[in-house]
């Protein structure tokens, strides 16, 4: 069904703080079109989105990470439905580096930084990538997500894809055992990352593109990230679309990593933004309203994507998403 039922309904959503700004826009936009449906959205983390959808405490769990094989085996009625394409930025707080300079960093360097093999900003590995930029000799302060985060999943997948020696595959996930460095900070939520980096000089971290305006306002630097072809790119429409074109076969359950796609201009850390939904709902009206909203999101909802720097799904993936949406029943 593509239109909601006539009775008034509240749809609850929680999960990914990366996706939260988008839901914050979708809620009022959808409500102004269908006033009987109110979206109650919250920003927590992807892990909470998956958990809550599994436990039935929310109607839509937002997640940057697709369901793990173990989760899919245990929660057989859960499906992850991509709604948009997002990207992850690497940000840092270096007052001595001008804002217009985008420091070049790649997965190998990042993996060495986060595993403690590179400890200072003026390490030869970093200066080699950035000739002409004077880097301070200060110690790098690591900031990561303390909660169960899809951003962590993306960032660790990227480090492992480019440097499996320094960052093994056992360190990929929404929560990982970060090798402890002195002064390391665990922030809560993407907002926590932005504010922790802002208040901590010489820090580095990762946060989704939906927070670009906050990052810029906080005077934090955005890194040009090295992709599989060796070029250093910033996330924008061109680079994200270039990366998307490298992944042509999304499976039916749509659980696929879009990390480190090939292509000269491809941005290496992109992902589908998923709505984790239970195919068996408690009532037919709820199922109908969920279907209607999700259909709206992948079709008319694309108008809001630009303000959070997301990209719409390719047409083939929209078809797959709609197929999954059709499975929701009450």
């Amino acid at each position: 069904m593509t239109t909601p039922a006539s009775g008034s309904q509240t749809i609850s959503e929680t999960g990914s703080s990366l996706m939260a700004p988008l839901f914050a826009l979708w809620g009022p936009a959808y409500h102004s079109q269908f006033s009987q449906v109110t979206l109650s959205t919250a920003s927590s983390s992807s892990g909470v989105g998956i958990s809550s959808a599994a436990a039935g405490t929310t109607n839509i769990g937002a997640s940057d990470a697709y369901l793990s094989p173990a989760d899919m085996a245990k929660y057989t009625t859960l499906e992850n439905i991509p709604l948009a394409v997002a990207a992850l930025m690497v940000v840092y707080n270096l007052p001595s580096v001008p804002a217009s300079t985008n420091l070049k960093l790649n997965g190998t360097v990042l993996a060495k930084i986060y595993s403690g093999k590179i400890t200072k900003w003026n390490d030869p590995a970093i200066t080699a990538l950035n000739p002409g930029v004077t880097l301070p000799s200060a110690s790098i302060v690591l900031v990561h997500r303390a909660d169960s985060s899809g951003s962590t999943f993306l960032f660790t997948s990227y480090m492992n894809a480019q440097d499996p020696t320094d960052w093994s595959s056992s360190l990929i996930g929404t929560t990982v055992a970060w090798p402890k460095q002195p002064g390391e900070i665990g922030a809560t939520g993407s907002g926590g990352i932005v504010s922790s980096v802002k208040t901590t000089p010489d820090s580095i971290s990762y946060v989704g593109v939906s927070y670009l305006s906050k990052v810029t306002a906080a005077k934090e630097g955005e890194a040009a990230v090295g992709n599989a072809s060796g070029s250093f790119v910033l996330p924008n429409t061109a680079t994200i679309d270039a990366a998307l074109s490298a992944f042509t076969s999304t499976p039916a359950n749509e659980a696929i990593s879009l990390i480190n796609g090939s292509g000269a201009q491809a941005y290496p850390i992109i992902n589908y933004e998923y709505a984790i939904v239970n195919t068996s709902q408690s009532s037919t009206t709820l199922a109908q309203d969920l279907q209607a909203f999700l259909y709206w999101a992948v079709t008319s909802g694309t108008t809001q994507l630009a303000s959070v720097n997301f990209q719409p799904l390719p047409a083939s993936v929209v078809t797959l998403s709609e197929a999954q949406i059709a499975k929701i029943s009450g």
């Binding site: 927590s44 983390s45 892990g47 909470v48 998956i50 958990s51 809550s52 599994a54 436990a55 793990s68 094989p69 173990a70 989760d71 085996a73 245990k74 929660y75 110690s139 302060v141 303390a146 909660d147 169960s148 595959s169 056992s170 990929i172 996930g173 929404t174 929560t175 990982v176 055992a177 970060w178 402890k180 002195p182 002064g183 390391e184 900070i185 665990g186 922030a187 809560t188 922790s196 208040t199 901590t200 820090s203």
Partner: protein
Amino acid sequence: MTASAPVVRPEGGAGQDPLPRRAVAALRAGIRNGQALRWTGAVGAVIPALALAFVLVVLVIKGWPAFRIDGWSFFSSKAWSQGNQYALKPEIKNGYELPPGAAYGALPLIVGTLATSLIALIIAVPVSVGTALAIVERLPRRLAYAVGLFLEVLAGMPSVIIGLFGAVTLGPIVAHDIAPYVARNVPDVPVLSYFAGKTGSGYGLLTSGLVLSLMVIPIIAATTRDLVRQVPILPREGALALGMSDAQTARRVTLPWVGAGIVGSVVLGLGRALGETIAVAMVCGASFGSFPSNLYDTMITAAAAIVLTLEAALTDATGYALSVLAEIGLVLMVITLLTNIGARLLVRRVSSTALPVGAGI
């Protein structure tokens, strides 16, 4: 005789009122006698005991799988990893599933909990006792009333607001002013190495301790004040008659007189600090899996660990993460229960104001 008060004839049989009427009459008699109150009261009084038993049973049942997997080494390990969540098959240990590579240890959590509470007590005890003495012995009645009001406000303040104060106001001051000053000027003695080193970002052990001390101070100060007020006048006058100054009287007569009560309130404050969750979660820096290297480093406590990871625990389909949290909850409960039982054996509650003297908000 009215018809509603049946006459019970010893011989029974015909002549007695029908059963419903007798039952209603018995009920009304019961209400008059207080029997109804007694029975509803008994039902009500059993409920806390049932709730307590329920909580214990749930924690033990939920924590059992993790205990079987890790055993007692859980309490001496400092691991913290949810393992390879995206592995295809779970590991099996001792009959229970867990993600490959998953490992949890409670030692950093226990150390963090005890360290923050210790710092809170070190700050709170002298400050509270001094405050109480100043209030009782020195301040005029009106000022004492006003300060008492301050203590009540501090005691009733939701801990999340104190946490906000710690994160937004105290933390930056610790990071920019206090920590660098102390770290620069502390003598280079091994014992004091905890005060030196990297001064961090304001999120860490020291800020957590400061925030906790704000919550513990009203408990100790108010109880001590009430206790000191009740010290009889005779011993104090006797001390003055012997030529002791009032400072000496306070130190040698008044305080020892209420010593047990003060210790009891300190233990109560300790219980509060041990169970505090949200304020510490906001300022601790959430560094799992390691010990703080100095006073300003980030760390984690048991309660903060639970509040930060519980809602996402179900992503671990094997149930191991959820089970570990039950184990941590049980450890926390045992620690706070021991301290609270100690407190109740020591303190005689004479508080005249409505202070919430209890543990863990």
